[in-house]
């Protein structure tokens, strides 16, 4: 579904991704772990189409399309969803209006009829229940005055409503207490399925106790330096990232 080949990207003059390759197939959950500054959020940003990242080499193919050629909204309509590390507040627009406009833009692209306010409300309430979200959040302005946990749940709620083919969760666990983490993970697990790919970007192994990945990759200095199964996450938890760094240094001197 997603094939990233030798991806290089920079912000202003600083090269951050230095030859990243990754293959995600439908039905798989991939975890990408790495220390601060390893390029995790840059990868998420490049996939979603953030303007400040400049791709200097490599390719990204998503369902047979050249992803890098698409505008951010075209990527979203094609089925990519990025759960933001820092969801943006939009005062003056209700959560419900915003999400219905987004859903209808995507449905229109898929050739499906748009949902009216009543149909949308029914769908939204169903999805909110699963995430134990207060229905009042629908009428509040997008993320405005939401707690950290409410913002993250709101991202997963949007994901559930928009029903993407590939979900990228950028540090969705940061700032969550254990109860909120469980609820968010439960929401993500509900979306696991044979047709969907999920990429979980995280610094800590904690989230992966609840969202058990099929593959774990370690990102270091802009490249994936180690891949394995879920046990790799446990190893990282036990040994820390220093171990990877030492291994990389050793490799470099050979």
């Amino acid at each position: 579904m997603l094939t990233i080949t030798n991806l290089h990207a920079r912000v202003e003059e600083k090269e951050i991704l230095k030859g990243l390759s990754l293959q995600v197939d439908a039905g798989q959950v991939h975890a990408i772990m790495g220390p601060n500054g390893s390029g995790k959020s840059t990868l998420a940003g490049v996939l979603a189409g953030r303007e400040e990242y400049e791709v200097t080499a490599g390719s990204v193919e998503f369902l047979g399309q050249d992803l890098l050629e698409l505008d951010p909204e075209e990527r979203a309509r094609a089925g990519i969803f990025l759960a933001f590390q820092y969801p943006v507040e939009i005062p003056g627009i209700s959560n419900s209006y915003f999400l219905r406009a987004a859903l209808n833009a995507i449905r229109k692209h898929r050739g499906e009829p748009e949902l009216d306010a009543v149909q949308f409300l029914k769908l939204a309430k169903e999805k909110m229940k699963r995430l134990q979200m207060d229905e009042k959040l629908l009428q509040r302005a997008v993320n405005e005055g939401f707690s950290g946990g409410e913002k993250k749940r709101n991202e997963i709620f949007q994901m559930a409503v928009l029903d993407p083919k590939l979900a990228i969760l950028d540090e969705t666990d940061s700032g969550l207490d254990i109860d909120a983490l469980r609820i968010v993970a439960d929401g993500v697990n509900a979306l696991r399925g044979p047709d969907r790919g999920i990429v979980v970007i995280t610094h800590y192994q904690r989230l992966l106790n609840f969202i058990v990945p099929d593959f774990v990759h370690v990102l270091h200095q802009g490249r994936i330096v180690k891949s394995g199964g879920k046990e790799l996450a446990l190893e990282l938890e036990a040994k820390g990232y220093g171990w990877i760094e030492a291994e990389q240094r050793a490799l470099a001197t050979v």
Binding site: A48, G49, R50, E51, D71, P72, E73, R75, A76, R77, L82, F84, P87, V88, E89, I90, P91, G92, I93, F98, L99, A101, A102, L103, A105, I106, H109, A141, Q158, L162
Partner: protein, 446 residues
């Protein structure tokens, strides 16, 4: 009659000649007090002339295009139909609708509603006869023409407008929607509607004034409205200015607040070529509250000037002012907000804010708060901001599937929404929201 052309038209002389011809024909039909008022108004207009560049009150108002346009007085009759009105103004089925064309009430285009006993909604022309004493008492009481040439011009040349009386203690459940259409079918005209609105003590009213014209038509709307809000009365007001993009709109609103009264107003500007709104609110007694909000959407070469004056002439009054501008193209917008706090107006609380969203490189905003405070125990704040659409929010919208244009519309709507939400008519609010979001209007059947 010779045809005026832009080359031979001298605005002051031309307008004085229009008045002279009108007075010759109709002066005899007026009651003496009204005729005297009109004569003194035109004399003052003659003295004042049009403001020059050194007049501080008009320094940022570019009247050039207005003064270059030869004007005539409109015919008494109009060929406009209900269909025309429906095309120009969003349907407001919950309101009693009164349509004025070039300042004259058109009963055949109006849908008057069931109003409580004692409530009067009439053409000022009719009221000048039927309620002569009341009208003469209120007409010109607030709208002084000694310093404002267009108030003088309106006073001299009005033929009608809205006359509204809500007796003391009466709550008018059904909102009033007063629609003022300028019809310049043949040639550019001067429409000068004059409205006098009197709200008795403890009365309540929701009132919307809408100003429109036909696309492509050129005219000058020089209107004046005087509203008197009685003690402990509450008025929610909105003005929607959606003139032809080739027309001029120079309009003055005067509001006088009695003890314990409340007046809130949303002034929305979405039309016209050269537009100026002068709003003056005066606290005439203690513990009254006044909110003057505004939303200006300006694009292309539009020029929109908002001058507000809030006169805290009495202690213990609160005023709130929030003016928002959305500026695109080469539009030029001016906000001048005066707040006077008189020496004995202690415990005044006045807040003023002017926020501008600049959508283009070539748009201009001049903002000038002007606070003159003579009392010492008061709270007065003001602030002005100018910004652009937030890139992070735009990306967030796009990352959810919204196209760039839709995302910009949505965020512009988000900026403007705070004012729109306070428009008292649900149907009008919905139409304004739809307009900002680029959606089709809801079905007129509502």
């Amino acid at each position: 009659m010779s045809v005026q052309t832009p080359l031979t038209w001298k605005p002051k002389e031309g307008l004085l000649a229009l008045w002279a011809a009108w007075e010759k024909e109709h002066g005899e039909t007026l009651r003496p007090a009204v005729r005297r008022l009109k004569k003194s108004a035109i004399a003052r207009f003659d003295e004042l002339g049009f403001p020059g560049p050194r007049n501080e009150e008009w320094r940022f108002t570019q009247l050039g295009p207005v003064l270059k346009t030869p004007l005539a007085l409109p015919a008494a009759e109009t060929a406009l139909t209900q269909g025309d009105v429906a095309r120009l103004v969003p349907a407001t089925p919950e309101a009693a609708v009164y349509v004025f064309v070039n300042g004259r009430l058109q009963p055949r285009l109006s849908q008057s509603g069931p109003l409580p006993a004692g409530v009067v909604v009439a053409d000022l022309a009719t009221a000048l006869v039927a309620h002569a004493d009341l009208v003469e008492h209120h007409l010109g009481r607030q709208a002084k023409f000694d310093q404002h040439p267009f108030v003088a011009l309106n006073t001299a040349l009005f033929v009608g407008g809205a006359f509204v009386v809500v007796p003391a203690g009466v709550t008018v459940e059904m909102p009033l929607h007063l629609i003022f259409i300028s019809d310049a079918a043949g040639e550019p005209v001067l429409a000068a509607p004059r409205s006098v609105i009197w709200i008795g003590n403890q009365a309540r009213l929701d009132l919307v004034q809408t100003h429109v014209g036909l696309p492509g038509q050129v005219y000058l709307h020089a209107g004046v409205t005087e509203i008197s809000v009685g003690a402990s009365a509450a008025v929610r007001h909105a003005k929607l200015q959606r003139e032809s993009r080739d027309a001029f709109h120079l309009d003055s609103l005067f509001v006088q607040l009695q003890a314990g009264s409340q007046f809130t107003s949303q002034a929305i500007n979405d039309g016209g070529s050269v537009v100026r709104n002068d709003i003056t609110a005066t606290f005439d007694a203690e513990r009254a509250e006044c909110t003057l909000n505004g939303l200006t959407l300006a694009s292309g070469a539009q020029h929109v000037v908002n001058h507000t004056t809030i006169d805290h002439a009495q202690p213990h009054c609160n005023s709130h002012e929030m003016y928002k501008n959305v500026i695109a193209g080469q539009a030029r917008v001016v906000f001048n907000g005066k707040i006077f706090v008189r020496k004995h107006a202690q415990k005044t609380d006045a807040k003023q804010s002017n926020q501008t969203l600049l959508l283009s490189e070539d748009g201009t905003i001049h903002t000038k708060p002007q606070l003159e405070i003579f009392a010492d125990d008061v709270k007065c704040t003001h602030g002005a901001t100018v910004g652009q659409l937030d890139d992070a929010a735009l990306f967030y919208c796009q990352a959810r599937g919204l196209g760039r244009q839709q995302a910009e519309q949505l965020l512009t709507y988000a900026f403007a929404n705070e004012i729109i939400q306070q428009v008292p008519l649900d149907s009008l609010r919905a139409a304004l929201e739809a307009g900002l979001l680029g959606e089709a209007l809801p079905a007129a059947s509502g």
